[in-house]
């Protein structure tokens, strides 16, 4: 990320802020709703719970507002993160209670809505529970019934698709490209701000 691009990202934030929240007080930043709006509109994310977690992930100081540096840091992982950075980020998103492990309950919680409910099924949760079991079997290398970061990391290194195993918390490639095309295209456009 070079200087120019950083600058551009800051500017998008400012643009977005101005666009969405004029009522903001002293600090320039995005509150939860505005942020989720952006996630939805720009990056095509739809899962409420995940989006919430993403906000938490961006908002490092937990002040309920994503300021410029948090925004830039988060976007740098989104757009240019190495595999390691993304793994850490995703793991934090998925680790709902922040205890350093992704437990079965957390997985269940995240996958709750991932299967179409069959009308004929007696127990709609059975499929989810099964999915959780499958995932655990695949990723839990130390067999302790929950995923530590090491487990997760090892699994992702073997199969990159598992990076966002519990929900899309990174932008999908298409939105990613569109966003980049839009933001990084013409420097002259930003000059009149």
């Amino acid at each position: 990320m070079n200087r120019k691009k950083l600058q551009k990202l800051t500017d998008t934030l400012i643009k977005n802020c101005k666009h969405l929240t004029e009522r903001q007080g002293t600090t320039i930043g995005l509150d939860r709703n505005a942020f989720r709006n952006i996630l939805h509109v720009t990056f095509g994310m739809t899962d409420d719970m995940i989006m919430d977690r993403v906000f938490r992930g961006f908002d490092k100081d937990n002040d309920g507002c994503v300021n410029v540096s948090e925004w830039i840091y988060g976007l740098s992982v989104f757009l240019r993160g190495t595999l390691e950075e993304k793994m850490k980020y995703c793991f934090e998103v998925f680790d709902l209670n922040g205890d350093g492990f992704i437990s079965k309950e957390e997985m269940f919680h995240m996958l709750k809505n991932s299967l179409l409910k069959q009308p004929s099924e007696e127990d709609p949760d059975e499929g989810i529970k099964d999915l959780v079991e499958i995932t655990l079997k695949k990723m839990d290398h130390d067999h302790d019934g929950k995923l530590s970061f090491t487990d997760y990391e090892q699994a992702v290194r073997e199969e990159t698709l598992l990076l966002e195993a519990f929900g899309p918390c990174l932008p999908d490639p298409k939105s990613h490209m569109e966003f980049e095309a839009q933001v990084f295209k013409d420097p002259s456009e930003f000059n009149d701000i």
Binding site: L115, I134, T135, K138, L163, E164, F166, D172, P173
Partner: protein, 736 residues
């Protein structure tokens, strides 16, 4: 395809009901998909299949790869894990597919297309038996697990789908039970549908699975039936390199039968695949994260793999060339990655069977690289390079190029390594074709290749023998090599090979034996080993190429044998057989038989016998031909046969003379000489002179009297003098 859909969903329903019931219970009806009418289809197909098999065996093909026997042997030698074909599975029986109409259409198309496709392709197209899971056997636990996963694939969102796909990939997808399990629970449709979505992760996951299971021939067909190919071809346009790679690799696995290759071409796949080879061209700087990225070299490699599979079809070879594939392939040859080289050389070798390619191959300096890679350590690479050289060496310039780039030595040294039979076959094939040039033969002798070749005449599989004998046949065109072959004890094994059924082999063996027979000492050995009788019985072989080749070989045998006349007479029914061959339709056979008759008729007794068998009318009937080769040998035969009894007169009666005069108008000096000699013989009879005069022979012959060819001069002059003498005598008679 709708029928299949219905069937799949029916089965799916059945299975769903079954899931409620205890799993231990075995349901025989679950897997039985044979409709009652399918039984008769089974029998019908068996008959069709048998016929196809038979016609294939008799089909003329000098391309050794196409022989049925080779396929058998290949199965014995090779692991079932080998990438190229699933040979064993494909030949054991007819297909019982859902659509009988589909099958009928397929076999009709097959017959239409059999001419347009290259012969190397025909082996794989027998429909494999469509196994359903054994109803009686315990369904393995994988089956149930896979079924569950497919259910999640159908009913899950992207997240669940990705999890299910990753889990499915963990099964041993190389095992047939798993592959068929995926198919039987409707997994193939789901996987293919996933390819049609916009979800990159789902596409990747799905392709990873499809890539593995498409090693199974039945699954390949199912994928094509379900319309999977056009979707995969579209994925080749994706900006994500890893998707391109996966799609190309899957296409490489699927496009192993004719219908699939055609489908790839029809959907514009060839152009896209050729575009993948272009790694110099830099697509937009990947702004993407490295998750979906792959190196350009990898993309090119996968593209080459796919093209290799597709290139077995003639129309695809053309398409590749038109899309500008050759320069790109040539460029890729310069790398040193074996993984890249093998599919590139494989593709080149497939395509090199076409002439258009050979010109381009020469232009792109590909031969140089092929020769260089002959020295690689990788056996498969060596094999393909040798095969490519075999294909290209049809052309003289290429043969010279191979020599100039030092290709003959590695070829000769690879002869010593007989373990890898496929490579040996390729190497011997390359040597065979290169030996067509005399300078190369000299080099081979220097490298002691001829002795090694003689050593390979025994204990080798047929596809190797064909090439070894072919090579020896070419080498023995030269005197020194004939002597060498004899001294190495090569004559005996060659004669032993005269009793085979492989047509290509027989053609080559007869040629080699014929070449050796030019040397009197070798001829004596051949005679002692009863070789002439064996050659003679090959005249009865149903295949015209074999007949012709045997007849050609008999000529030097008769010329050089001691007591040739005796020998020929000793073959019971032999002379009658030869004369009857004059009734054939095949020009090559006719020319060769005429040549043989010319030699036979040198012996007076034999000439009498063949006259009794009616050689004169038969020869006369052939006189009306424009084929110079036939004309020459026919004229020679006629001139020989004139020297018995009233054959001269008889030829005139059977109206052979007038057509002969027309031969003088040909451009071929051999034809002139032979015709002049025939006319000279015929002109001893007055009626013939009149016919010749009426047909304007005199003028034509006059021109030839001045020819530099002495025999022609003499014959022409002799003929004219006979005609003149008759004219004078007639005049004299008129005035006295």
């Amino acid at each position: 395809m709708s029928k299949q859909d219905v069937r799949f969903s029916e089965e799916w329903d059945k299975e769903k009901e079954l899931n409620e019931a205890p799993k231990k219970e075995e349901e025989p009806t679950l897997q039985k998909a044979l409709p009652a009418s399918g039984k008769s289809a089974l029998e019908k197909n068996q008959i069709n299949f048998g016929k196809n098999q038979m016609t294939k065996r008799l089909e003329p093909s000098l391309n050794w790869k196409a022989t049925v026997d080779f396929k058998d042997h290949k199965n014995v030698l090779r692991d079932t894990q080998e990438e190229r074909h699933g040979g064993k599975l494909e030949r054991s029986g007819p297909i019982v597919s859902a659509g009988r109409t589909q099958l009928v259409r397929k076999s009709a198309e097959k017959i239409e297309e059999i001419i347009s496709e290259s012969s190397s392709e025909s082996e794989e197209d027998e429909e494999p038996p469509d196994h359903r899971q054994e109803a009686n056997a315990d369904l393995p636990s994988e089956y149930w697990q896979i079924q569950k996963l497919v259910k999640y694939l159908k009913g899950g969102n992207q997240t669940a789908t990705v999890i299910a796909l990753c889990s499915m990939k963990d099964f041993n997808l190389a095992q047939e039970t798993c592959q068929l399990a995926i198919r039987d629970v409707g997994g193939l449709e789901v996987l293919i549908n996933l390819l049609d979505t916009d979800e990159v992760k789902c596409k990747i996951g799905s392709l990873k699975i499809l890539k593995e299971i498409s090693h199974n021939p039945q699954i390949r067909r199912n994928i094509v039936d379900l319309g999977g190919l056009p979707i995969m071809v579209n994925i080749l346009d994706s900006p994500h390199k890893s998707l391109k790679c996966l799609a190309a690799e899957t296409i490489a696995n699927v496009a192993k039968f004719r219908r699939a290759r055609r489908a790839v071409r029809r959907h514009g796949g060839i152009t896209k695949l050729v575009a993948l080879l272009d790694c110099a061209h830099n697509s937009q700087e990947p702004a993407q994260s490295s998750l979906y990225d792959a190196r350009d070299v990898e993309v090119a490699r996968c593209g080459a793999l796919a093209l290799w599979s597709c290139s077995k079809s003639y129309a695809n070879k053309e398409a590749i060339r038109k899309a500008g594939g050759i320069p790109l392939l040539a460029g890729l040859l310069k790398t040193s990655h074996e993984n890249m080289l093998i599919p590139v050389v494989g593709t080149l070798q497939e395509c090199a069977s076409e002439e258009n390619y050979r010109a381009a191959i020469k232009a792109e300096r590909i031969i140089e690289n092929l020769v260089k890679n002959l020295n690689s350590e990788n056996e498969q690479l060596q094999e393909h390079c040798a095969m490519a050289i075999y294909q290209c060496a049809e052309d003289k310039e290429t043969r010279d190029l191979v020599r100039l780039h030092g290709g003959l030595k590695p070829l000769a040294s690879l002869l010593n390594n007989t373990d890898n039979k496929e490579r040996l076959a390729a190497v011997t094939g390359a040597i065979w074709k290169c030996s067509i040039s005399k300078e190369n033969v000299t080099k081979f002798r220097e490298y002691k290749a001829i002795e090694t070749l003689v050593g390979l005449l025994t204990d080798q599989p047929e596809e190797v023998l064909v090439n070894v004998v072919g090579a020896l046949g070419e080498c023995c065109q030269e005197y020194e090599n004939r002597v060498l072959v004899r001294k190495c004890g090569g004559i005996q094994p060659l004669v032993n090979l005269l009793v085979g059924i492989n047509q290509t082999l027989l053609v080559n063996v007869t040629k080699a034996v014929g070449a050796c027979a030019a040397e009197p000492e070798s001829m004596a050995i051949i005679d002692r080993l009863d070789g002439v009788r064996l050659l003679w019985s090959l005249l009865k072989n149903p295949h015209p190429d074999v007949k012709a080749s045997a007849a050609w070989a008999l000529c030097p045998c008769i010329q050089n044998a001691k007591d040739a006349g005796e020998m020929v007479r000793s073959f019971v029914g032999g002379l009658e057989l030869v004369v009857n061959l004059l009734k054939s339709d095949n020009k090559e056979v006719l020319a060769s038989v005429c040549a043989a008759i010319t030699n036979i008729a040198k012996d007076q007794e034999n000439l009498a016998v063949i006259t009794d068998h009616g050689v004169v009318p038969l020869l006369s009937k052939l006189a009306n031909t424009n084929n110079d080769k036939l004309r020459r040998h026919l004229a020679e035969a006629i001139s020989r046969c004139c020297m018995w009894g009233r054959n001269r007169v008889a030829f005139g009666e059977y109206k052979a003379v007038a057509p002969l005069v027309r031969y003088l108008k040909s451009n071929d000096p051999n034809v002139h000489r032979a015709t002049a000699q025939a006319l000279y013989q015929l002109s001893e009879d007055a009626d013939n002179c009149i016919t010749m005069h009426e047909n304007g022979a005199v003028k034509l012959l006059l021109d030839m009297v001045g020819s530099p060819d002495q025999d022609l001069q003499e014959a022409a002059a002799g003929c004219i003098s006979n005609i003149r003498r008759l004219a004078l005598a007639t005049e004299k008679a008129r005035y006295t």
